[in-house]
Symmetry: C2
Subunit: 340 residues, 2 copies
């Protein structure tokens, strides 16, 4: 039955005529082995098809090399793009990604996380999403390093990566105004995550500063369908907006489709639209959406970089390194806003 599938360092040692320690050291960067011994070991290892058992190694070293990616809505364009970048970089850094899907909220999230703790993951990266800050707590208490992307929990310890959502929102107001729009609207979801709300606040504030009032509507999640519903609500009013900033590209796509196909409005002639994320679909010619680009690869590389650094002194004085990085969201100008 369990018929000895893997070769162990012991066997490699025997074949190479050296001690088991020599084998171990050969595969430990920075250990002291002579070139000759190393050669013999590598040869034997190759011949036998030896692979270091990372489970045993992790057991000794007390670090597994596993980074777990905690994510909801994996199938969403922005989320999956970030996921792609992160896995790639982690691999290059010699780490390995464990995926925790938090879509179902029926306690399986908690179960999955505990699962990750059981594997002694060195770190967790939370790609935004669910507000469960207890999860973050659990990660930290089990000695993991934590990276929070687009979340704003005021907890010490983790690295927080955020965007300049509010300033970005201000810039889109300028663009709308320059295009001659005066009846601005903001289409948001009910998710209420910090970055979404920051965009809303920034937009409203910048417009108000110019003496322009903004009609705000919130509905559903950040998906396409919600965008359609928002359009139905906002475009059936007596006074239609002539420019709408959608908190998300998916919302924008839904909004635009409804505006065009259900209300026969022309974009950008009768309605200017802007989104946020710069998902692939934003560049498709049916949408040609002006939007803010999530600096996906910058986010990923900052995160992985931070994780690759040696543990920053885990002292318990009050200057706990509450690292926070703020990245810039570049406006990608396309055809959904007049004039460019």
């Amino acid at each position: 039955m369990s018929e000895k599938l893997f070769v162990s360092a012991q066997e490699v040692a025997e074949r190479a005529g050296v001690s088991r320690s020599a084998v171990s050291r050969t595969f430990t960067p920075g250990a002291s082995v002579s070139t000759e011994t190393r050669r013999k070991v590598l040869e034997a290892a190759e011949a036998l098809g030896y692979h270091v058992n990372e489970l045993a190694r992790g057991l000794m070293r007390n670090e597994s090399g596993i980074v777990c990616l905690i994510v909801s809505d994996v199938a969403t364009p922005y989320r999956s793009a970030l996921l792609r970048e992160l896995t790639l970089l982690l691999q290059n850094a010699g780490k390995v990604a464990m995926l925790i899907n938090t879509d179902r909220s029926d306690g399986s999230v908690d179960r999955a996380l505990r699962q990750a703790i059981r594997y002694r993951a060195d770190a967790s990266i939370m790609l935004s999403g669910m507000p469960d800050k207890s999860i973050a707590q659990l990660c930290l208490r089990s000695g993991q390093r934590l990276v929070l992307i687009n979340r704003d929990d005021e907890q010490p310890g983790p690295l927080r990566i955020n965007l300049d959502d509010d300033e970005a929102a201000g810039r889109v107001v300028t663009a709308f105004v320059r295009a001659g729009c005066r009846k601005l609207a903001f289409a948001n979801s009910e998710a209420g995550t910090p970055s979404l709300m920051a965009r809303e606040r920034g937009f409203v504030a910048a417009a108000n500063a110019l003496g322009i009032k903004v009609s705000v509507e919130r509905h559903g999640w950040t998906g396409y369908e919600a965008g359609k519903v928002l359009a139905q609500r906002m475009l059936t009013r007596t006074e239609r907006p002539d420019a709408v900033f959608c908190a998300t590209d998916l919302l924008a796509c839904g909004f635009m489709d409804a505006a065009r196909h259900q209300f026969s409005m022309s974009v950008p002639d009768q309605l200017c639209i802007a989104g946020f994320d710069d998902i692939e679909q934003a560049s498709w010619s049916s949408y040609d959406l002006t939007t803010f680009a999530q600096p996906v690869s910058a986010i990923a590389s900052k995160a992985v970089e931070w994780l690759s650094q040696p543990q920053p002194q885990p002292q318990n004085d009050d200057t706990i390194c509450a690292q926070s990085i703020r990245l810039h969201a570049e406006l990608v100008w396309r055809g959904s806003i007049r004039g460019g």
Copy 2:
């Protein structure tokens, strides 16, 4: 420095006043422990915040509970949808997903896979993509179980999950003909994966059986841009097709956008289009694409189901269970083909 982060079974045992074996058995389903002992152990474990060390357990049991997902183009809608489903189901089955991204072809793939082997993954699921069958070999040789999705390697051992691509392609011919189309075309990528080629063969064969010739064009990968290029090639000819079957929804979206915006053609009046995968965007009203649905959740559940079964006798006689599952791709009828 390494200040004892995790509690061990030993400590739990001491607090509960039992032996370490008792603790171990408490967390091993099916082991023999009295209710009283179990209660004491669970209580102590809870108080101490004990989590089984899955690394050590895997070392003993010689199975890690890790399933690795080998995937390229994670950010692609179909791929990420499948990923979502798989991770969810794996979690429910008490397993954990390790993600291997094979986008870069510069040997990092190989490195990542070896990484996975080092973690003694119990199984791998290859979500189609790259043709490197040597990778599959490596998985099998290291004792993993293997699931191949939408690939057709004729190797024994793995579970193969495929679709009825050729029959599906036949059904779309019928639909086109019924819509009054006679100049059929097939837009494919150059990737040449088995399922893509099966769709092409099936389409051409079914059309030929009706005495209709098909113009076939292949270009690039299976993305949106390739679809646009294909449209540019096929629609600049003197004799334009009046119906095109795209091997992929992304191709179809690109094709449709080019047809409408660059060639001012009306879909479906002047051109009927069908795709394959039923990605979310296919249902967006700008596309409203008739397409075949990948039975994503069926695929995922078949895969996880198979992995959850006890190892099917690993005998070495010639009746190696070369399991193969063929699923049905349902035609989702929308507005990109006339008459419904």
